[in-house]
Structure formats: structure tokens, C-alpha cells
């Protein structure tokens, strides 16, 4: 009798576990993994962007880079078919590898060359280099529920929706936020860092990936986002710049960003603030116009 009740207990337990798993499995098969999971970390944020890239039609332009480029939000760009795959805390090589491993390529790939001291995220590259069959069988019910709620409350904005707000932002004077504490700390960090080894390795990989991508019809251009005057002269920035320009001296390989420096601000010492990011975005778009032709 006692043993029977133990068996019953496990049968009921197993039944409810299997039922929930099957429900999530069927829901995944029915709806797919399309719902964007909310990000609790920067990595989760990257997954959202990369999920979209893998599932949606291939865009014309793709940006890859670090947290500096991550700040250039897609809705700032008037170019309609543009994706920003920059990874906060990551390396541009990770994004470039992922783009290169896709069956179809965009027309233009823009590679940020400011931060080359970070290693490639091999797990991320591997994940997004697999076929669609390797999608998870079950979605996460809690995160999906939160994702549905967040998507409903904060749906992604288009350029048209934000253009008025962007114009208003640009009409304002540059921010007078006192960022000295952050700027000093950033400078200290940039001066302490020696990116030589990592930058050389990353540049070598970029050098290998560029012909592989360009043979398939895409064009790869490097670009540098402006740092504050202080950081431009830091040890890390100077070493990185020297390595990358020695390897890629041809001006044709570069997308020139000509924004007015006095208009730019770096609120945390390193990253462009919102207004400056919009200005940088417009500079990139001006440079892109000649490459993409009339829309």
C-alpha cells in the first residue's frame, strides 16, 4: 500500500512535469522562438539583436562593433534596411564572424575599429552559425510571458516614429553634464590597458574575414567613432589606432565619419551620449549615401 502511494506520487509528479514541457514544446513549434526575450544582461541584449538578424530578411547594411557602436540605435538611422549587431562588452570580430557565417550577406558591413582588445565570443559565434534546426525545443515560459508584456508595452520604434524627437534633440545645445569623474576613470583605464596582443590577433582575423566576405559580394568598410580628446591620446586608443591603420592603410577601406567634434559629448567618459550618437549616425548615413545609391 505504502509502495503504491509512492508510485502514485511519482506518477502525478511526472505527469504534471511532462504536461508543462509538452505545452511549451507545442507552443514553441507553433509560435517559434520569435518572441524577443527581455535582456537582464548586455549578453541578453545581444541575443535579442542577433535573433532578429537570423530570422528577418537580410538587410542592406550591418554594423558590427563594441559598446561604442551599440549606442547608435537602429531607429536613429533613416536607412530602412540597417541592423546594428554591435555587442556591448564584446568584440567587432564576433559580429563579423556571425555575419560571415550566414548563408546570405548584406551589401555593406561596417566594422568598428575602436575597441579591438576583447576576445571573440566563440560561444555566440557557434550559436549563430548553426542551422535553424538547432533552435531550442522549448521556450522559457516566464521569460516569454515577460517578453510578450514588454513587447506590448515597449514596442520597438521606427525612424519615422522618433524622427520628430530626434530633430528636437538635435535642436538643443550639447549637454553640459559634468562628466569629469567618469572621464578621469576612463582615461586611467585606457592608459593602464595594453591591447597590443589582442588587437593584433583581432586584426589578423578581420584581415582573413574581409576577403572571404567580399568574395561573396558584400563590401566591408572599417570605421572609427570619435573619442573625447583625452581618450584619443590614451595609450590604448593610440596603440589600437596604430595597429589597425598599419594593417589597413588604404583610405578606400575606411568609412570616414566627419562630425563636428565640439558638438559631441561623452557622458560616461567613453560612450557618446544620445544627442552625439544621433549626430554620429547622421555622419555615417551621409557617407553611406554614395555607397548605397539613391533610395
Amino acid at each position: 500500500m505504502q509502495r503504491m502511494s509512492v508510485v502514485q506520487w511519482f506518477a502525478k509528479c511526472g505527469f504534471s512535469a511532462v504536461t508543462l514541457l509538452l505545452a511549451c514544446g507545442f507552443a514553441t513549434a507553433w509560435f517559434g522562438n520569435g518572441l524577443q526575450l527581455p535582456s537582464t544582461t548586455t549578453r541578453d541584449g545581444a541575443l535579442i539583436t542577433l535573433n532578429r538578424y537570423a530570422k528577418e530578411p537580410i538587410p542592406d547594411v550591418v554594423l558590427v562593433g563594441s559598446s561604442l557602436t551599440f549606442r547608435l540605435k537602429e531607429e536613429y538611422f533613416a536607412t530602412p534596411r540597417l541592423r546594428n549587431l554591435a555587442l556591448a562588452g564584446g568584440s567587432p570580430v564576433t559580429g563579423l564572424e556571425i555575419v560571415a557565417n550566414q548563408p546570405r550577406l548584406p551589401r555593406i558591413v561596417l566594422v568598428e575599429a575602436n575597441v579591438l582588445s576583447r576576445p571573440t565570443d566563440t560561444a555566440l559565434v557557434e550559436r549563430y552559425s548553426r542551422s535553424v534546426d538547432a533552435e531550442p525545443v522549448f521556450f522559457r515560459p516566464i521569460r516569454t510571458a515577460v517578453a510578450a508584456y514588454e513587447s506590448w508595452v515597449h514596442a520597438p520604434l521606427s525612424h519615422t516614429q522618433v524622427s520628430f524627437a530626434l530633430s528636437r534633440l538635435l535642436a538643443q545645445p550639447p549637454s553640459d553634464f559634468d562628466n569629469r569623474i567618469y572621464a578621469d576613470r576612463a582615461l586611467q583605464q585606457f592608459n593602464a590597458e595594453d591591447p597590443t596582443l589582442a588587437a593584433r590577433m583581432n586584426i589578423k582575423r578581420i584581415e582573413q574575414l574581409i576577403p572571404a566576405v567580399e568574395q561573396r559580394g558584400a563590401r566591408v568598410l572599417l570605421f572609427e567613432l570619435p573619442y573625447s580628446d583625452q581618450l584619443e591620446d590614451s595609450r590604448s586608443a593610440k596603440i589600437t589606432r596604430e595597429i589597425v591603420h598599419t594593417k589597413f592603410p588604404d583610405p578606400e577601406r575606411w568609412l570616414h565619419i566627419d562630425s563636428t567634434r565640439r558638438e559631441l559629448r561623452w557622458a560616461d567618459g567613453v560612450h557618446l551620449d544620445e544627442r552625439s550618437a544621433v549626430i554620429a549616425t547622421q555622419s555615417i548615413e551621409r557617407a553611406l549615401t554614395s555607397l548605397l545609391g539613391p533610395r
Binding site: A11, K12, C13, V18, P38, T40, I142, F177
Partner: protein, 454 residues
């Protein structure tokens, strides 16, 4: 090999399968000892000799102390405390990356050894063994039983700290038919659920409490994260203890319960009878009472409380933050003590709820010293909770996710026992089944148990 790895699952399945086979009936203790040695050596094989030294040394002192307690018991305790002090506090005096310390190869080798996992726990087991068995004046146990008591794998790394007088009588042949399968499964499933669903998911958010990330947080998020960490550390350690208790039951051993809804405590003294119960009862039995406890007047009692809590803090690690954490808990116990009987006499639900909230908030605030062992960072975090944030780009935290991942801890503490024991009794297996599915579907990124570092 952590409890949440697939290697551990295979290891337990093999040991469990062999343990109850009739040919092994007379060798169950030996089998568990070998399995425990394999478990310990799997991650740090170079530290197995140290474990052997600790066990053999303790056994030798036990034999000697059974003949002459007065002389050999203090030496045996000192031997164990010296082991603990050496490994736990040596990096206060030497730089771990230095190529050579004293130039003598064996000493350099010892100084370079990392902190042995679980040393704080097995050293306390050793001391309990010495004190309990010599106090009982019993005949010396066999070496295998001593080994099993000290290194029994479910409790080896992070407890619960089991007292020798409770564990040793349980060493006898075990039978498959006596296994309380449902009870063991409930402990194990609850433990894994709290670790994988609650602790690992909350850890993603509380990683923003680390230096220098916390400087980017908004003030209200600093507050939120402290409370999330409070839930996380409970879910993590309660989860580990629950898995240990469940596993031990599968092998026929009953380990002490380590947590009893600590965040529902109405006083700080009650908190310490509900949080990490095995450590607090160990400290009370082997430190507070021998120091005189409350038998020598109020001043001496307060001093004893401060000493015990200060040492309890240092037991966690060699850092000012841990000492501060212990001393502040001691201070709270001291200031509460004169008023405790007057507070208990007030019979009001609202007052009771207010007391629970006050204790919970104080305990939670002190976890900052645990999360940030660097004292300056802890103070930096704490002071930032009371000043407005100036960072223009704070990270975004999803409050709804934070709530959903904390919910099991809240429900466990707030729901009345009768709800689970009577009303939901019929639904119990289904609820455990849902927990199994959720811990699989919603498991957070793998992180080691917080108490492994101690």
C-alpha cells in the same frame, strides 16, 4: 563536481545503484568513503592528501584524547584550527602569484595550494568529533566510520555541519526498502528548483552589484538588488542544503535541517535559530557555551556574543567585510537582548509584521558585506544607496522578472504552513512536477554555489 552538473548525476546514480546491491551490504560504509574521496578529488586531486592528513590527524588525536582528554583534546582542536587558519588566511601574508615564497620547495608548495573546497566545514566536523566522542567517553570508532562522518559527499563541501553524536549512531547497514523516496525527492527537487530557477536567475541581476558595475546603477536599483541578493543567497544556500539532505536520505542518513524560514524571524536571535542552523548551533555548542554563554552576567554575555559572531564572520573568509558582517550581527543581538522579553509580550499581528520587516531589512542590508568582500567596495555600495545617481546611462533591470524569480522565496515565507500541509496536500505531487519542468525550462546561467568559496 557540483550538484548541478550532469557528471554529478551519473556519479550519484552509479553509487546509489551499487550501494544497495546485496554483495555490498557489508561494505556500504567503505563504498561511501571511496565515492566521497572520488567526489572530492574530482575537482582538486592535489588536495586529497590534505584531506587525508586532516582525517588521520583527527583520528590520532581522538584515540589519544579518549585516553587523556585534558591534554589531547585541546591539541587536537588546535591542530584543526591551525589547518583552517593556514589555508584560509595565508593569502593575507603572501602574494599568490609570487614565484617563490620562502625558497624551500615543500613549504612553497603548501603556500601555493588553493583554498581547499569545504575546509571550513570538514574542520568543524573534526572538532565536533573530538569533543562529542571524548565527552561521551565512548569506545573509539573505526577509522572508516570517522572517514565517512567527515567526508560524506552530500555534506562535505558546504554542510550542513552535522554533529558527531548525531551522525555516528546512524552508521549501520542500510536497506533499499527503508528509503523514504518521496521525502528525499521533495528535498532534492526543492533544492534544485531554488538553485536553478531562483538563485541562478537572480544572479544575472545581482552581478550588477559587483565593483565597478554598481557605480552605473540608479539609486532605486541599488536598493532592489540588495533585496534580490538576499533572496538569492537564501535560495542558493537553502537549495544546496536541501539537495544534501535529500541525497543523504537516499543513502540512509538523516542530516540536520539547515534553514527554517529565516526571513520570517521576529528577532535577530530567532533569525540565528533559523538561518544556517547547523553553523549557529555548532558555534553555540562549541564556542559560546565554553566561553561562558550567559552564565556570568550581562556584560560577559554581550562580550561572548560579539566574540562568537565576530569569529563566525571571520570563519567565512579573511576579510574586513566578513568580520564587520559578523560584528554587526553581534551588535544587533546585543542591543536586542535587554528588550526581547518586553517585545515578546506585545501580542499584535501588526507589531509582529513590523518586527519581521525590520529584522529582514537589517539582515538584508548586512548581506552587502557578504556580496562585496572588499570593505571599501561594500561601503561605496552602501553609501550610494543614500545618494542620488548621476550616471546618464544606467542599466535597465526588469522588475517583473525580478519579482517572478523571487516569488518562490516569498511564497515559501509568506504562505502559511497549513496551506501546503492541508489545503494543497492533494496537489503536492503536481506542484513538484511543475517545479521540475520550470527548473529545466527556466534555469538561469550556471553559477557555482555561493557557499563553495567558504
Amino acid at each position: 563536481m557540483t550538484f548541478t552538473s550532469w557528471q554529478f548525476g551519473i556519479f550519484v546514480a552509479i553509487v546509489f545503484g551499487a550501494y544497495y546491491l546485496p554483495p555490498f551490504r557489508t561494505l556500504q560504509t567503505q563504498l561511501l568513503v571511496i565515492a566521497s574521496l572520488f567526489f572530492y578529488g574530482y575537482g582538486q586531486p592535489e588536495l586529497l592528501p590534505l584531506l587525508a592528513v586532516a582525517v588521520f590527524g583527527t583520528y590520532l588525536f581522538l584515540i589519544l584524547a579518549l585516553r587523556n582528554r585534558q591534554i589531547w583534546l585541546p591539541i587536537g582542536i588546535a591542530f584543526n584550527l591551525a589547518l583552517l587558519a593556514f589555508f584560509k588566511y595565508k593569502f593575507l601574508f603572501v602574494v599568490p602569484t609570487s614565484p617563490s615564497f620562502v625558497g624551500v620547495a615543500p613549504i612553497d608548495f603548501l603556500l601555493k595550494l588553493p583554498l581547499p573546497i569545504g575546509i571550513s566545514f570538514f574542520v568543524f566536523h573534526n572538532i565536533s568529533l573530538l569533543v562529542d566522542l571524548t565527552r561521551q567517553k565512548s569506545s573509539p570508532p573505526d577509522l572508516t566510520s570517522v572517514f565517512l562522518y567527515i567526508i560524506f559527499f552530500p555534506q562535505l563541501v558546504s554542510g550542513p555541519i552535522t554533529r558527531a553524536e548525531m551522525f555516528m549512531p546512524q552508521i549501520k547497514p542500510k536497506y533499499f526498502g527503508e528509503i523514504p523516496f518521496v521525502e528525499a525527492s521533495k528535498w532534492i527537487l526543492t533544492g534544485f528548483f531554488f538553485k536553478l530557477y531562483v538563485a541562478n536567475n537572480l544572479n544575472e541581476m545581482t552581478s550588477y552589484m559587483d565593483f565597478p558595475l554598481y557605480e552605473t546603477l540608479q539609486t532605486q536599483d541599488r536598493w532592489l538588488l540588495v533585496f534580490l541578493y538576499s533572496y538569492q543567497i537564501y535560495a542558493d544556500f537553502f537549495g544546496y542544503s536541501a539537495i544534501a539532505i535529500g541525497l543523504a536520505l537516499l543513502f540512509g542518513y538523516r542530516l540536520p535541517v539547515n534553514f527554517n524560514l529565516p526571513y520570517a524571524s521576529i528577532s535577530f536571535s530567532e533569525f540565528w535559530t533559523r538561518w544556517h542552523i547547523s553553523l549557529s548551533s555548532w558555534l553555540r555548542t562549541y564556542l559560546y557555551v565554553p566561553l561562558g554563554g550567559n552564565r556570568h552576567g550581562p556584560f560577559r554575555t554581550y562580550l561572548n556574543l560579539m566574540i562568537v559572531m565576530g569569529l563566525g564572520g571571520l570563519w567565512h573568509g579573511a576579510g574586513l567585510s566578513y568580520l564587520m558582517w559578523g560584528l554587526l550581527h553581534g551588535f544587533l543581538l546585543v542591543i536586542e537582548r535587554p528588550f526581547i522579553s518586553r517585545l515578546q509580550s506585545i501580542d499584535s499581528t501588526v507589531f509582529r509584521a513590523a518586527r519581521i520587516t525590520f529584522v529582514f531589512v537589517c539582515v538584508t542590508m548586512l548581506w552587502i558585506f557578504f556580496k562585496l568582500p572588499n570593505f571599501d567596495h561594500a561601503i561605496g555600495y552602501l553609501s550610494g544607496m543614500f545618494t542620488s545617481s548621476t550616471n546618464p546611462n544606467p542599466p535597465k533591470l526588469f522588475y517583473n522578472l525580478a519579482l517572478l524569480y523571487s516569488l518562490p522565496v516569498m511564497i515559501q515565507h509568506l504562505a502559511s504552513r497549513s496551506l501546503f500541509e492541508r489545503t494543497l496536500r492533494g496537489a503536492e505531487p503536481y506542484l513538484y512536477g511543475l517545479m521540475v519542468a520550470l527548473m529545466y525550462l527556466e534555469a538561469g546561467p550556471e553559477t557555482s554555489f555561493i557557499y563553495f568559496q567558504f
